[in-house]
Structure formats: structure tokens, C-alpha cells
Subunit: 139 residues, 4 copies
Amino acid sequence: MTLALTAQEVMDYMAAEFPQVKDDFAIDALSEDAITLRLLVAERHLRPGGTVSGPSMFALADCAVYAMVLARVGRKALAVTISCSMDFMRKPAAGVDVISKCRLLKLGRALAVGDMLLYSEGDERPVARASMTYSIPPK
Amino acid sequence: MTLALTAQEVMDYMAAEFPQVKDDFAIDALSEDAITLRLLVAERHLRPGGTVSGPSMFALADCAVYAMVLARVGRKALAVTISCSMDFMRKPAAGVDVISKCRLLKLGRALAVGDMLLYSEGDERPVARASMTYSIPPK
Amino acid sequence: MTLALTAQEVMDYMAAEFPQVKDDFAIDALSEDAITLRLLVAERHLRPGGTVSGPSMFALADCAVYAMVLARVGRKALAVTISCSMDFMRKPAAGVDVISKCRLLKLGRALAVGDMLLYSEGDERPVARASMTYSIPPK
Amino acid sequence: MTLALTAQEVMDYMAAEFPQVKDDFAIDALSEDAITLRLLVAERHLRPGGTVSGPSMFALADCAVYAMVLARVGRKALAVTISCSMDFMRKPAAGVDVISKCRLLKLGRALAVGDMLLYSEGDERPVARASMTYSIPPK
């Protein structure tokens, strides 16, 4: 197992393909079977009271597994999300980034599965848990 | 069973409490155990190619169950999402709204469960399936 | 769309392939996109107090989607479960069958998705909700 | 945080309350926020080809979180499963136990959440992933 793309190459590719979200995320760490992805929390991600919205956490989880698959499979990847499950356990802290510690559990020919815990930066108790399955269509 | 709030009252309450999303949704129909909620698709909900983003569909699903609980329990509801699962089955059509046909499966003292199919307007094949569990904390 | 197998043919095939479970289930109804599958509740499916166990409800849900895919694709199907989500909403009644009303939401070349509500016979309030995704490997 | 019950006390309690499953499981390890639970694979857990059945893996996952909650909350716990999600990633090996490495992600007053990876003994690649939410009713 080796990485097809570096963290920088993954970010560059995503910025080109998904310009809407290019300012939302940063890769803190990337290895062959794990990624730490950061949601750069801004006003648009918040709900009243300053808490990070559910859709923003979904986006972080979805993007983490996508970036992980991309890093392994390369730019030819046309992976699409087919299922997800999430558990929301604590209210995210106001005013800090949310960090997803994601591991790649399976990368098959047709399917990839990743799961993760999401943390408010500076707190070791997870705010949410997510798992995502991606379909990797044949080329 | 009766509704505590009308569709208009639900929308007014959500617009006041969640101003970020007030232009995103409209209630097409509301009954005692079902709601049809529409995502008013705009540029900010799209991915390249015109397809509606996963986080936007998550937001629609989450909001549908929240609105349903609100309509039944009234403004005192402090419901919070505790878990969700979604299956993404087809690519949403470009340029049309996404419509969630949601049913309330359980409304207990502490927990509410709803599920739904999501459709691109004008197509009878569902683009996604979602279920959401809300916790209703004691007052 | 037509059915590749009748209800009787589905049951015969499952009895031959999965002899362990052949006395557990009966098909009440089968159409091109829906199946009603009955768990013939026996002592082995129960928990103390007479309630039907979680694993038995999982088995019913899993089997419903499998039978539906089999009915559509035929005996050549080698479908395997890749993900499931369930919500348990009420305690099943003691001493009665559990009935799964399952609909096929997607049947693609590589993936099938079904969801269902589970009922204790004679009660119109669902005891559980389930969704299942099957992978259909290429022959 | 301390444990209310030892591993032996948890097993004794479960054997008394759920005699149907008392020969199915063994606790390999227990700490304040994690449990390793073993499915003692026997003929009744198998599918043709010797693989462990889905319902048996569901039972293992469900039991792991239940045992973890019991160990923390004590015999007064009346926890009931309210939701689960599972991803099945690889076929379990024939003829070996399945081991669940479960961590307790949240133990609140009303809700507990645990997740886990399931392994065929002797293989470091997970066969499945599961998460379970339990409701802990007020006494």
C-alpha cells in the first residue's frame, strides 16, 4: 500500500473539482489508512448559539472518506457516497474547528468504507461518530 | 393526536430560530404523522454538474423530522438530532427542487423517529432514503 | 420489470441454500418492488418476557431484502449484505409473529437497497424500521 | 469513572437474565470505556460455507454495548437498544471466533453510544463495523 496522492495534491484536486468547499477543509495528517481532516469553522457552518451545524459535520465526514479514497486511488477516482450513518453525541464547542479522525476500514475494487470520530478542537470527548460507504465505479 | 402548530407557524418559528436556513425550505403538506418538505434548490446547494450536494440532502432530512416534531410538540420542543442514516441511490436531477416525503414513526416522551424518501421533483424514483432520531429532553 | 422467481421458488431456493433458517420465514406477499415477509416466531426467537430478540428482527430484515433481490434477479444472485441500519421503536408483542413490509428502493447492476417497517401481527404501530444494502457481485 | 461490575459479574448477570445466549459470549477484556467481547462460534452461528451469520454478528455487537453499559451502570440498568448501524466488509473466516473490540463513546443519563470493529480471530482486518445506541430509561 502506498499513497497515490500527497495531502497537497488531494487538496489541490478537491479545490479544482469542488470549488464550493475549498475553503472549508484542511488536511492535518494523512497516512495510508487514516486521515485527519479539519473543518475550518466559519459563520456559515454555525447554528444559533455558535454550535456547528449537522450538515457541516456531515460534510466533514463525507469529505474525509472521499479525500482518503482519493489519496489512495488517485485522480481517476469517481467515488460516490452510497450510505452513511452518524451519531451526534455532544454539542460541538462554539468558535473552534471540528476535527475528524478518520480511518479507512476497507478499500476494495468496488467499495470503500471509512469511519471516524469528530472532535471539537481541544476536547478529547468526541462530538459525533460517522461511517461512510463509497462506491467506486469501474473505469 | 392533533397538531400543536400549523405549517405556517412551524415555518415562522424556524425562520426566527434558524435564520441561516429560512430560505432553504418550504412545507408542501403537513398532517399529524407526515410532512412533505421541499428543498428550494439554489446555487449554494449544488455540486459540479448541477447535482444537489449530500450535505444539502442531509439538511433537508434533518429539517423534515425537526419540523414534524415541532408541529406535534409545539414551540417548547428542544429536540436535538442524535442519529441518522442515509442511503444515496440516484444522482439528483439538476435544476429542480428535492422533495422529502417524511413520516413520523414514533413520538415518545423522550425520543422521536422519522424516516423519508427524497425525490427530485418530477421523478418518482427516490434519490435517497433517510431516517433520523431526535432526543426530546425533559423540560 | 417482472419477477424472475415466484414466492414458492424463492422459498424453495432459500430452504436449499440456508437450511438453518428455512422454518423461520414465510412470504405473505410478493410483487415486483415489495415483499411481505413473516417471522414465524418460535421459542428460539424470544428474549425473557416473550419479546422477539433484536437478532431475530435483524434476520427478518436481512432475509426480506435478500428474498426480494432473489425474486427479481433469479437464482444466479450472489447478493451479500454490505450495510444495514435499524431503529427499534417499540417492544414487539409476545406470542405473535413479526411481519416485515419491505420495499425495493433500488436494484442496480451492482447494488440493491431495500427498506421496511416491522410490525407485531395485529398492531399497526411499527416495532422497528430497517434498511439494508446488498452488493450484487458481477458473475 | 469506575466499573460498577466486574467482567465475571457482568457474565453472571447476563447468564441469569438471558439464558438463551449465555453460552454464546465471553469477555476477553473490560475497562472503564472499552470491552472486548468474543462470540464463541458454534454450529448455530454459521451459514453455508462456514461463515458466521449476520444475525450472529448483530447479536455480538448488541451484546458488547449492553455488557459495557451494564458494567458501568450496574444491575439496575434497564438499557434497551434503540438504533444500530453495521457495515459488513469481509467474509468472516470459517471455524474461528469473532471478536468485537468495542469502545463506549458516550454514557449520558438517558443515552449510551458504543461502536466497535469485529474481527475473525487471528486476522487483523475487520470483518464488520457496528455502532449501537441504547436508551437508559429513568428508574
